[in-house]
Symmetry: C2
Subunit: 325 residues, 2 copies
Amino acid sequence: MSLTVWANHELRPGARELFYDSLARLGCRVIQSAKSSRSVLTEGESDPALAEADIAYGQPPLRDAVANPKLRWIALSTAGYARYDNDGFRAAMRARGTVVTNASSVFAGPCAEHALAMMMCFTRELPRYILNKAGPREWNYAEGRYSLETLAGKTVVILGYGAIGQRLNGLLAPFRCRVIGVRRQPRGDEEIEVVPEAEVATVLPLADHIVNCLPDTPASPRFCGGAFFAQMRRGACFYNIGRGSTVDHAALLRALQGGQVAGAFLDALDPEPLPPEHPLWAEPRCQITPHLAGGHRAQDESLVRHFTGNVQRFIGGLPLLDRVI
Amino acid sequence: MSLTVWANHELRPGARELFYDSLARLGCRVIQSAKSSRSVLTEGESDPALAEADIAYGQPPLRDAVANPKLRWIALSTAGYARYDNDGFRAAMRARGTVVTNASSVFAGPCAEHALAMMMCFTRELPRYILNKAGPREWNYAEGRYSLETLAGKTVVILGYGAIGQRLNGLLAPFRCRVIGVRRQPRGDEEIEVVPEAEVATVLPLADHIVNCLPDTPASPRFCGGAFFAQMRRGACFYNIGRGSTVDHAALLRALQGGQVAGAFLDALDPEPLPPEHPLWAEPRCQITPHLAGGHRAQDESLVRHFTGNVQRFIGGLPLLDRVI
């Protein structure tokens, strides 16, 4: 069986050769779309060559994916898949037996590490000392020691308890934190306490740290808004490694300014890029990384290995990893 | 048996009352030295009242500790105990059966968290983005993602593998790092690979991260010097939560400037406070916290609970926690 793989994800040199070599070794023909892009945050452009493909890798345009019945598998190169996460698309794919996977296991580890880095950075007040070094160079020994917190034994609420949340829970294990997950529909097989999104207000007052991993879904626009921040324990911290659209940033800014939220570390904003004049840049209780949480040096090689491993499974008729439809 | 406790450690309000109340409940008389100090980094001042004590808590002057044979137990309020760590003092205490404890289990957790915070902060390049927010407010998405590292699977060398190192090894467990300890004399019962200090050169080239927890001992002045940094793998990171005297800072600065050491995060300096004109403040690859690693909000309450728990053991004839002599 010779498979044709269409791809519109522009991989970096090194990973690109690994992609072609690995697929050639698996007997696949590759069509790299002329409209490829490295950014996966915008939808790919339409490309008639998709019609020849058995497998689409990257971010195929939704309409084209639906219009090409020959496609047997769509392998998304991201963890988020909001563009494809609707009943119409799901029904169309299921009706003709097209499988959809994402790359959540590639990004879960780095995202969880990024979240823990943010949490520890706040707990140990590193921003204050990084700015001190760039500024007054004070030696705040006597008072500084008593201002720091530890993470051990604290309560952490994770919004959107999926692959990232599970990995974060694993990283937190030695800290013996109380970890509470919030997800659209608890499955009952989670290894931690989990409440449904509708009951988030019951756990917000418990948390010292709230980590938002929510995807961009119509079900949760501005899930974290004024009421949400008001329900948090005063002085708790908020982190976003999910999507910016799930947060009402004006409400967050007010909560930071009033001290209700002691600190916010945001990797996902809305809009992105966040314009330089946006007031969150000026808020001292806020820190920002530019949508880096899933990134790491070997990201593209990991994506290729994840995809080609799944191609082997596909050829062998085995269940695919990270199947979402 | 009524015991007299002499103390020259100045606790903060709250912890102070807990100290007096707990000791009163244990039937102890407390003499708070008129020469008490909150800083534990300098030796306490001489106080004739020490002559009445069975137990000295804090940082009793070495000479006075030796000169008062009635003292049965010296409870140091720090983890480091370099002032007392010499053969003469050890022999004098052993000869008359005086026990010496430190407070390492109070500080090990916060120190290990601080070290991990530093490591994750560098791994996820947070200083760059904290300074970006305070400065140009760029949105370095496309390139930034590929510059980050992850901690998972990396090799970590811990210099001075004691209570802090063991706790750090525990925090690193979910990352599945290779952790190698270096200690004066490996005991053979460590849960990780350990090499003696004399063989440090064999493990330096392996490490992605080197965490210095070395105490201030005559055996290891400037243990981390020019040869040490040259033996590191180019581009590895160095952390110091031990004592500043164990590092040759001129050599470290040269190694940072030449890129041999990619980053240094230092909590212990020499001298302390580090003067504002010291070139380490100006080195962009270096970050500094002012001797905070062991600190946390509830530090003094933890110290009191640790000490009074040991007083109970002392009264009951049980072995004391954190005994060092």
